[in-house]
C-alpha cells in the first residue's frame, strides 16, 4: 500500500533540493537578455538560412498544403473520437485470471498493473472479433490495474472489485483468491 506520508516526503525532498539548486539562478535574467541581444546582432548561419526558408514557404500554396494535411489529421482524429469506446469485460477463469476488453475498433490493447510492475502485458484478439483477452497466473492477493487501449488509459473495468484513485485518475482493483475486497 502506498503511503501518503511517503508522498509527503517526496514533496519535501524535492522542494528542498529545488530551493537549494535554484540559488545558482541569480542573474539569469541578465544573462538571457545579453545572449538574445548577442544572437540578434550576430545571427548564426543556421538562423539566417532558417529565416530565408520560412519567408520562402509562407506563400499561399504552402498554406493550402498545410491545410490539407491538417484536415486529414482532424478527420482521422474525429473518426476515432466518435467511434464507440471500449467496453471492458472481465471474468474469473479457473486456470488463471482472465482480463478482457471488447473493442472492435482497437488496434492494440494491453493490461498494466501491480502484477507486471506496470509494464504492459498485451491482450490478443486472434480471431479478430474485437474481444481482446489475456489470462494471467496470479498468486492470491490484491492487484491494481488498468487497460491501455491504443495508448489511451481505461482505468475503470466494470468487472473490477473496486476502484481507487491514483494521481487523480481511477485504476481498477481485483482480489484474486482472497474472497473479495475489504
Amino acid at each position: 500500500m502506498w503511503s501518503s506520508d511517503l508522498e509527503e516526503r517526496i514533496r519535501e525532498v524535492l522542494a528542498k533540493d529545488m530551493e537549494r539548486a535554484s540559488e545558482s539562478l541569480a542573474g539569469l535574467e541578465d544573462r538571457v537578455i545579453r545572449a538574445i541581444a548577442e544572437r540578434a546582432a550576430h545571427p548564426s548561419l543556421w538562423q539566417r538560412m532558417r529565416e530565408r526558408w520560412l519567408a520562402a514557404f509562407s506563400t499561399p500554396r504552402w498554406a493550402f498544403a498545410g491545410g490539407a494535411v491538417l484536415a486529414l489529421v482532424l478527420g482521422i482524429t474525429l473518426g476515432r473520437l466518435l467511434a464507440p469506446g471500449p467496453v471492458p469485460m472481465s471474468a474469473f477463469a479457473q486456470a488463471g485470471t482472465l482480463f478482457a476488453v471488447v473493442d472492435p475498433q482497437a488496434q492494440s490493447v494491453a493490461v498494466v498493473g501491480d502484477f507486471s510492475a506496470w509494464e504492459p502485458i498485451p491482450l490478443s484478439d486472434p480471431d479478430g472479433d474485437g474481444i481482446w483477452t489475456a489470462v494471467l497466473d496470479l498468486p492470491p492477493g490484491r492487484y491494481e490495474y488498468a487497460f491501455v487501449v491504443d495508448g489511451n488509459w481505461v482505468g475503470q473495468d466494470p468487472q473490477a472489485d473496486e476502484y481507487v484513485r491514483s494521481f487523480g485518475e481511477y485504476t481498477s482493483v481485483r482480489y484474486v483468491g482472497t474472497g473479495g475486497g475489504a
Binding site: L14, L25, L28, R31, V112, V148
Partner: protein, 181 residues
C-alpha cells in the same frame, strides 16, 4: 494567463527585452525544475534553462495566446533538455542534487530523506521526469503529457511504474516494509 503576463508577452513580441527579462525572473525556478527533472545534472539544467528562455523568446511568435503560457514554456524547456540528453556523451551522472543532511533533523529523518532523495534522482529519466513534474510542479496529468510530448495514458503508466520502482528501492534499503500483495 497570470495578471500582467499577457502584457509582458505582447511587449516581448514587440522586441521589449526588459519585458522578457521579467518573464525570466518569474519562471526561472519552475523552468529549472523541468530541466533538472529530465537532466538530473544541475550544471546541465542551468544551461538548459538559459537556452530554453532564449529559444522561447525566438519562437514567441509561435505561441498561441489562448493557451496557458507556462505549459508552452515548459514544453520548450523539455524539448531543449531532451535534446541535451540525447547529445550527452558521458554516462548520466550520479544524483548531484543530493545535499548535505541538515544536522537539526533526527537521524531517522535524515536517513529517510536521503534514501528518498537518492531513490527519486536515481530513477531513469522516463520515470523521473513525470514524477518530479507531478510532485514538485504539481502539474495535472494532461499538462505533464503536453510538456513531455507523451500521451496521457503513457504518463499514467510511467507514474505508476516510477512509484513501483521507488517503493522497491526503498524497501531494499529497509526504509519502508516490503510490498505485500
Amino acid at each position: 494567463m497570470i495578471s500582467g503576463e499577457l502584457e509582458l508577452v505582447q511587449r516581448s513580441l514587440e522586441g521589449d527585452l526588459e519585458a522578457w527579462g521579467e518573464i525570466v525572473r518569474r519562471y526561472k525556478e519552475a523552468v529549472f525544475g523541468v530541466a533538472v527533472a529530465i537532466l538530473r545534472n544541475r550544471a546541465d539544467a542551468e544551461d538548459a534553462t538559459q537556452e530554453a528562455f532564449i529559444r522561447a523568446y525566438e519562437r514567441l511568435y509561435h505561441y498561441d495566446l489562448s493557451r496557458k503560457f507556462s505549459t508552452w514554456l515548459f514544453t520548450v524547456t523539455a524539448n531543449v533538455a531532451k535534446n541535451m540528453l540525447r547529445k550527452r556523451r558521458r554516462p548520466e551522472p550520479r544524483p548531484p542534487i543530493a545535499q548535505v543532511a541538515d544536522p537539526a533533523e533526527t537521524v531517522w529523518r535524515e536517513e529517510l530523506h536521503q534514501a528518498v532523495r537518492e531513490a527519486v534522482w536515481g530513477l531513469p529519466e522516463s520515470y523521473r521526469a513525470p514524477l518530479v513534474l507531478r510532485y514538485w510542479h504539481e502539474m495535472d496529468l494532461a499538462e505533464i503529457a503536453q510538456v513531455l510530448g507523451l500521451r496521457v495514458g503513457t504518463v499514467k503508466t510511467r507514474l505508476h511504474r516510477g512509484r513501483a520502482l521507488l517503493r522497491a528501492r526503498l524497501a531494499e534499503r529497509g526504509v519502508i516494509p516490503d510490498v505485500v500483495q
